[in-house]
Subunit: 345 residues, 4 copies
């Protein structure tokens, strides 16, 4: 931590900061410059918040040197984390593909899509049963009934289930059904929920908030990991910017940045990051080319009649075509899609 | 709703859209243009999501005409809503001031600040007991113990309590203590929480999410109002932009825009919207000049040693000075601060 | 400047940075921490770019301590700059109001508006004769002919002229006509133009770029001041954010931030910062309440038929009403509008 | 164009809008809805600005249907434009790579880099001789002397030259030296410069402004094309967002969006869009995977001592490695790098 004092800050203000640094079990290194004094605070500062110093009289600015997260950092865990999930691994050479509808709408719908994405090359089935909807008047999901249909789909296809959890009260019930919890973008800083998920041992697909920085994303993931649930996969799903040509802006830079800062696997969600099925395949390929460890996409057998997110859903045919293209790009960057005995792609 | 077809969309695609419009109990008005066809969908469209049409084959774009919210809209309720709270009203001529620390840190601290803000001109006391912290290693609040101290502060000063609720599980307990629920920016789209608050009858100070549009803010408030809890106060607390000179960017435009779109009272939070006590007073005055109906600010007797948000907290002296300045601006725009027999300002 | 080395950077990389610091006539102060080394570079660093160090092997990050601008900074020039213009001053107690149409459309139009804004309380006349238009098919301005009409308007009303200059080649000609150059948002980093304006002695109304940070704005103004043209007025005209309810987002925080960082006067342009005449008056008042030293607004006698920016133009009646409201707010913050013998407000 | 009237707008306001539509040689189609009236304006509306209607009394909102640009649009020119430049084509199957230093610093430097990028697989040489620098105290470029060195580099390597033009006054002189004009991000809406470039017949590498929408980019390119200079290559170089982990945010979505909206070739600049050489290769691959037609990157033989942009410059070795990786990705998406008899890659 570097504490930069205002020009002309008197000696007693400097001394007060130094005293606080030592109270925090750090060592102080003041540099008395021509215009102003800068005080270095050296030691294990991961757990010392910079705001402790920001309000001290005479302090102009505080800048962190060490990262404000630890367990998620590559400094703490140098090797890539590789998680073994049901039927595939993530974080190593293999690139799994998670696909399915935005919402589970009916038994018939999810069974049909599950079969279709399996044939197209998917390794896991996604589907929402509790839906975060911008409008209170929109369809809010089938709830536990939807989970029962998903379990049936898993039985028929062998695909593990990735389902969004929206509230602490849903965790216990959902744990019985799902293989991977999805933590949605709107809940990235729902700290009670993060803590509760951290107490489970269900792997987590953790989505970046739409205006969260990469650092905030890693700090929020630390809530889960510090609870002992270490199998967190980070998902770039687009951020909010001034551009309105697409629903969100895919922050493709986040892929190599995350691979540098953290050992956790990184997944890209081109359905949400573009909001338009016409652009999903291009951005899926871009994600893999940039180093992503997995892909999650929305697929619907009849996008025009999907209850939600139809515009960004691929048809099964478009999905199968995307998988073939992604496979070629994966091989060009020395990765491969998951080798499965069932998939036809 | 206007459904704009792709140039050259064939007649059967147009007909499919028209059929869906009628299924939604709206009337269709196609305009067959030179390059493309546009289909107007007329009727009560508040509850019809535009995404229903977006994925139909041949549809290029769908544009709403009517607002996607209703109960919050000024069209639905033309007069300003004026709420009577304990000791003051909001939404009319009077401008109440809510003040207090970011976090309740101890009994002594909250009792002292409560007295100080009362003397400085506050009409309600804010204080956090469950804290949404970016880092899992930061202080997370005193919980129910903190509420007990706040109640004691209310007894001594008469100031009603404004406290953030972070989880559905906290609502029942908190209802016994607090006068106004604060719904925090990070939870603006925590729909389960919104719905649960909508079932209470405790007034709500509803904060805009840091990357929420004004329209999304109004749609989210609709979750609460449609549950029957109509006393919602909207709070502009800064949005996230590229500018890093301040913690957030105060969207001052949001004040007159909200006053035009909704009948609900609008509050400004210059502490969070600037993140720096040096700028709080200027932005508080700006908010009132722009038409805000109330102010919420952070005050701490010793900002340098505040556990959280010290940098943006006013001292009691600075707070009292701000109140005097805000009073002058309020009167310049034909408003007035709350007339209280206790306040010295 | 603080140069933060990567954890584990070897001694020779540290030495290379130290050597470069000394080559730049600064003094080096290395701090050897547990995890990494930080090197302070102390001295007059205004003119040393941080990028000099950023690409050195082993450097993780470089952070400035001193500001990258000097002449514009309050540290260099502690007192507020007050400029005497024709008929009013800016930067002191008086708040001048600049008003007029987006574009000069005809002789009759500008003469009529000039008279109207004069009567409504304006102290200077704005009007564009070279128009930066997003589309090449839109009206591009009357050019020198428009300036002749403006001069005639000045003769009849006494109002000095504020006119945008868009190209180096226009400067010489325009110098004969105008009292204040406006430097438009799209040209804020047109460095050739900045330098050429710096060589004139015509005062400059300098608009912030729509995605420029406050620091970049001050650095760009330094191009003009370092040429010897010190009469620069900084104008906040809204920034680009994700919010689409208004054309731009008024960064009201920028007003007190600029007043802290620089001695130059600060002007607010609520016409561009909102893009909607319905919100101009509220934001003009907010600007003055926040500490702005002046206001510039668009006024048109027939907004519906204005060639450009009609939506954000006030009618003369609305303008006169706004001036009265702004006057009350100015007085509430111990300022006053310019006292003129002509104005009727 | 759809003109949406305010609820309750009286008949005479509707009639005034209809009269204006017909004055603009469009046909009006009013839809009289329950709450409000919408008026469709049908015909060739490319050249009719929506602002013409925005300020009419009673108008709530105006929405374009046809695009505000024409010559750049894929509707106007359905096939991909393929330009033959010196030694390669762009817009077809081949993906050219443009490489070189940010600034030409000396004769020796540019000759060495030119040779190095040639050997690494470049098809054109970039280099700046007039530099847009944020600070007036930074190196501003070698000017014409730098161009002479570049010409010498072209003679030795055969690589055509891509050089930024910053001012109208530089065009005539530069035309004698350069093969492709680069139009920089800060000048994307410098309309005088755009128009002047449109009058030349030198191909243009046209960079997106850092806060320009895709639509504004296409409208600005129309300034050049409508002057008769049709060889415009659009370049995504990152946009400004709230994320600070990278210098800019690469808008990878822009690649497929542009390929859909326009026939012009699309180039990606991962050096500026990331600002960090560590991420350039990942994003270059992503760009090609997403459909980009070319790449431009910064290369320097000694990034630590580059006068500008050292942090984002690749070494020649890193560049050659990137080219090999990009080649593999290009082939995975059925493209290929330019086949050159000189390159060793």
């Amino acid at each position: 931590m570097m504490i930069i004092m205002h020009p002309g800050a008197p000696r007693e203000q400097i001394d007060a900061v130094i005293a606080e640094i030592e109270k925090q079990k750090l060592t102080s290194h003041p540099i008395f410059g021509v215009e102003q004094t800068i005080i270095g605070a050296v030691g294990d500062g991961h757990y010392v918040a910079k705001e402790i110093f920001e309000a001290f009289p005479g302090v102009m600015e505080v800048q962190r040197i060490s990262k404000p997260y630890k367990l998620a950092s590559r400094q703490f865990h140098e090797q890539d984390s590789v998680f073994q999930l049901d039927g595939f691994s993530i974080g190593g050479t293999e690139i799994p593909i998670i696909a399915g509808p935005c919402s589970v709408e009916s038994r018939a719908q999810i069974l049909e899509i599950a079969q279709a994405v399996k044939e197209g090359g998917a390794n896991a089935l996604r589907g929402g049963v509790f839906k975060p909807r911008t409008s209170p008047y929109a369809f809010q999901g089938l709830g536990e009934e939807g989970l029962e249909y998903m379990v049936e789909a898993r039985e028929k296809t062998g695909l593990p289930l990735v389902v969004e959890v929206m509230a602490v009260s849903q965790i216990e019930m959902m744990t019985k059904y799902v293989d991977v919890f999805q933590l949605g973008a709107r809940n990235m800083q729902n700290f009670n929920l993060l803590r509760a998920i951290g107490e489970t041992r269900t792997p987590v697909l953790f989505k970046r908030g739409m205006s969260a920085t990469i650092e905030e994303m890693l700090m929020a993931s630390e809530y889960i990991i510090s609870g002992g649930n270490t199998r967190v996969m980070l998902c770039e799903r687009g951020i909010r910017t001034f551009e309105t040509a697409t629903r969100n802006t895919t922050d493709i830079n986040a892929v190599p940045v995350l691979k540098k800062l953290t050992h956790l696997p990184v997944i890209i969600d081109p359905s949400h990051s573009t909001g338009d099925s016409a652009f999903v395949s291009a951005v899926a390929k871009a994600g893999v080319a940039a180093g992503a460890d997995g892909i999650i996409v929305e697929v619907h057998q009849d996008p025009a009649h999907a209850i939600s997110d139809g515009k960004q859903s691929l048809t099964p045919e478009a999905f199968a075509k995307m998988v073939k293209q992604v496979k070629a790009v994966a091989e060009a960057v020395d990765r491969r899609l998951v080798v499965s005995q069932h998939a036809t792609a």
